[in-house]
């Protein structure tokens, strides 16, 4: 147990939570009884995705590559997904989704085709497929729940793992930086790309609505806490990713058409020490806090310049 309390709300600008969340009128996208770990960001993300689909009276077909999200379905003959779902090979989700979306559009159907993928399937093995689908501007929504680790295989490094993080394949801390997948996806000029944090539900909801009412390729990158891989307390998941936003480690922003930028939360540059301390994947001696903070500030400054010069 830690001795200091995590800042819960902080001073970062945020919208208030709606006072009361209305009950769902349909079955939730992620059914109860699934076996996801406590404090898993993906569970929150899927719940809110289901809610956004209901808000907009939309249906969806899911294409899920190998990742925790595929295991979430549970074992045959039961499934935790209340919408048609196909498990694809690790690298193939955007390709399979392209096929599904092509036939949907030829038949004038309305359902969303959504890829729900982890960072391994997005940043690494599936990246060529994702890039190609983006280049073709396929009419699909791609959501990456980025827990910065190969969670399903027990916690190996991916190119989304941040520097300093220990994984089973970086036993002394990762020495490389985290791939800036948002910049790469924005460079494809796709209609919509945005980052999401489960610590900012209203912002999360708005971006889902934007994505679900935009056509063409949409890419959402969700910072997804993983207590099992991060070696953190499940109850602290939401505070951790909130602190990542506050301290500028995970900026919340949107890119429209690869050209127009909007920043959704101004970091208050809170000290990220607790962010690292509360996750036992980080060792104090293996995280260069000074460099990390400087890098975060510079990255945000670049985003700010873009958002001011090319506002959405």
């Amino acid at each position: 147990m830690s001795t200091t309390e995590l800042p819960v709300n902080g001073s970062a600008p945020r919208r208030d939570m709606p006072g009361e969340i209305p009950p769902l009128s349909c079955e939730p996208l992620l059914r109860p009884g699934n076996t996801n770990c406590g404090g898993c960001g993906m569970s929150i993300g899927l719940t809110w995705l289901g809610r956004a689909l209901e808000d907009l009276e939309q249906k969806a077909h899911l294409a899920i590559p190998a990742c925790c999200g595929a295991v979430t379905a549970g074992a045959f003959p039961t499934t935790s997904y209340a919408m048609p779902t196909v498990a694809t090979t690790f690298a193939a989700a955007p390709a399979v989704a392209s096929g599904l979306a092509s036939i949907r559009d030829l038949n004038g159907s309305e359902e969303q085709v959504i890829c729900w993928a982890g960072d391994g399937g997005t940043y690494d093995i599936g990246f060529a497929t994702l890039s190609a689908a983006a280049e073709r501007n396929e009419n699909i929504l791609y959501i990456c729940y980025d827990n910065e680790i190969y969670g399903n295989t027990g916690g190996q490094r991916s190119s989304a793992t941040p520097p300093g993080a220990r994984t089973t394949t970086t036993p002394h801390g990762k020495s490389e930086s985290k791939k800036d997948v948002m910049s790469i996806m924005a460079a494809h000029g796709i209609p919509y790309a945005a980052t999401l944090s489960v610590g900012h539900p209203e912002d999360f909801r708005q971006k889902l609505h934007t994505a679900l009412t935009t056509s063409g390729m949409r890419f959402l990158l969700m910072h997804s806490p993983c207590p099992t891989g991060w070696k953190s307390e499940p109850a602290e998941s939401v505070q951790l990713v909130r602190l990542a936003v506050r301290s500028g480690l995970f900026p919340l922003f949107e890119v429209f058409g690869g050209q127009r930028y909007r920043i959704n939360a101004e970091p208050d540059w809170a000290d990220p020490t607790e962010y690292f301390r509360r996750q036992r994947r980080f060792r104090p001696e293996e995280v260069d806090l000074g460099t990390t903070r400087r890098w975060a500030r510079e990255r945000f400054q670049r985003l700010k310049v873009l958002a001011e010069a090319f506002p959405a």
Binding site: H61, A75, P77, P84, T85, A95, S98, S102, I103, E135
Partner: protein, 417 residues
């Protein structure tokens, strides 16, 4: 029916496209396409086809070409693609998925040597490497068979008693790039032959299901057995598909197996694809000279046509199998399959494998004559014969013995524990 002079690739591209077009009154059609020599003309023709309800998705790899095809098929469309050689190797993971998802997709494969080293000529090693996947495999001899078997493949794949993907194979260049007079179908005929596809397990919002989730061993066994039973039904359904083809197109498509002069043959050659065409000439001339030689042409690898094989070899005492492929450490795949099929039933038969035309070499009548001479002299089967190998590689010498890292204990001295 129009007769035109076209390449094998042209015939394949047209047949695939027309089959897709025939589904325009149902869920439509889609293909993921990616070029590779010598298949490229197929996907070019598909890309240029004026589909009324279809989309051709030009992807970034063979893996994604099959990925798109799987997605389209899961959505209930008639879906297809084409590939070759290393492209098939790159696609393998998704080829397997299409089979295990029981998707009636059709792929035309142009048989090309797997590299390295780089070789673009004919060799069946690429599709034979897929032989353990749940795909029906057909091997065409010429352009007409390419056109016919491609159309038949859809009918066979989509039959509710089958629901398995089909691979239609042709030899690189010898068929793919060679023009030949071919009877091409009209769209109206294809429409009649291929009724709208209604895939029973397509993804649909009104009946949400999860495909490909975790299964326990017992369910896995059931699913595998279902595939096996579907394969058992293929020969019967294949014959029905041929009959329906005759009814619509007015001529007979090639069969899964064709036997020539095997009735009282002592020696039977077994060949596939273009080698079979040359072998038939040799067998005919030998027959004319009074020799009891027959030929069995195999056009189906999966399921393996064991019954027809046994029937064709009823009077034979020796079989020579011509393989244009090489399975490392084994020899020819077809020879291996035939030995396995005859095991316990015809143990008296001498089966000899011949590796002919590996890497696209010419298999001439003279080469096949050499095979028959060798086969006639044999008392016992031997290791695979490398036909036409003129300059065998020298056998590498064994390496000189290396000094042991730990000096041996001199004799007479007690080793210290």
């Amino acid at each position: 029916m129009p007769r035109e002079i076209v390449t094998g690739n042209h015939a394949a591209g047209l047949a695939l496209s027309m089959a897709g077009e025939a589904n325009r009154f149902a869920r439509g059609t889609a293909a993921g396409i990616y070029p590779i020599t010598p298949q490229t003309e197929i996907v070019e023709r598909v890309a240029a086809f004026p589909f009324s309800k279809g989309r051709v998705v030009p992807v970034e790899s063979e893996h994604s070409a099959m990925g798109v095809t799987i997605g389209a098929s899961l959505s209930g469309a008639r879906a297809f693609t084409a590939s070759s050689s290393n492209g098939l190797a790159y696609m393998v993971e998704n080829i397997m998925v299409a089979g295990f998802y029981r998707l009636p997709v059709v792929m035309v494969a142009v048989n090309r040597t797997l590299g390295p080293p780089w070789n673009i000529w004919a060799d069946q090693g690429d599709t034979l490497m897929l032989r353990d996947f749940p795909w029906i495999q057909l091997y065409a001899q010429d352009n007409q068979q390419v056109a016919d078997l491609t159309l038949l493949a859809f009918r066979l794949a989509e039959d509710p008693r089958v629901l398995l993907p089909v691979l239609v194979c042709m030899d690189a260049f010898i068929v793919s790039h060679t023009q030949m007079e071919t009877e091409l179908p009209t769209q109206e005929q294809v429409d009649r032959y291929l009724p709208p596809l209604d895939l029973p397990h397509r993804m649909r919002s009104d009946d949400p299901k999860t495909l490909g989730g975790l299964v326990w061993p017992d369910a896995t066994v059931s699913l595998r057995k279902e595939i096996h039973e579907a394969f058992d039904r293929v020969p019967m359904v294949f014959e029905e598909c041929r009959q329906e083809f005759r009814d619509v197109f007015g001529r007979s498509p090639a069969g899964a197996v064709e036997a020539y002069h095997t009735k009282n043959a002592e020696t039977v050659l077994v060949a596939t694809a273009t080698i079979a065409t040359t072998a038939l000439e040799v067998v005919r001339s030998r027959r004319a000279a009074g020799e009891r030689v027959g030929l069995l042409i195999l056009r189906m690898l999966r399921p393996f046509p064991i019954d027809q094989l046994l029937e064709a070899c009823a009077s034979a005492s020796r079989i020579g199998v011509l393989d244009r492929d090489y399975a490392a450490g084994i020899g020819g795949v077809w020879a291996h399959e035939i030995r396995a099929a005859l095991q316990g039933t015809r143990d008296d038969l001498l089966v000899q494998g011949y590796l002919t035309g590996i890497g696209g070499g010419d298999v001439t009548a003279e080469r096949i004559d050499e095979v028959l001479v060798d086969l006639g002299q044999r008392e016992l089967p031997g290791p695979p014969v490398w036909v036409g190998l003129e300059d065998p590689a020298p056998v590498p010498a064994a390496p000189p013995p290396k000094a042991p890292l730990v000096p041996p204990v001199p004799s007479g001295v007690e080793a210290t524990p």
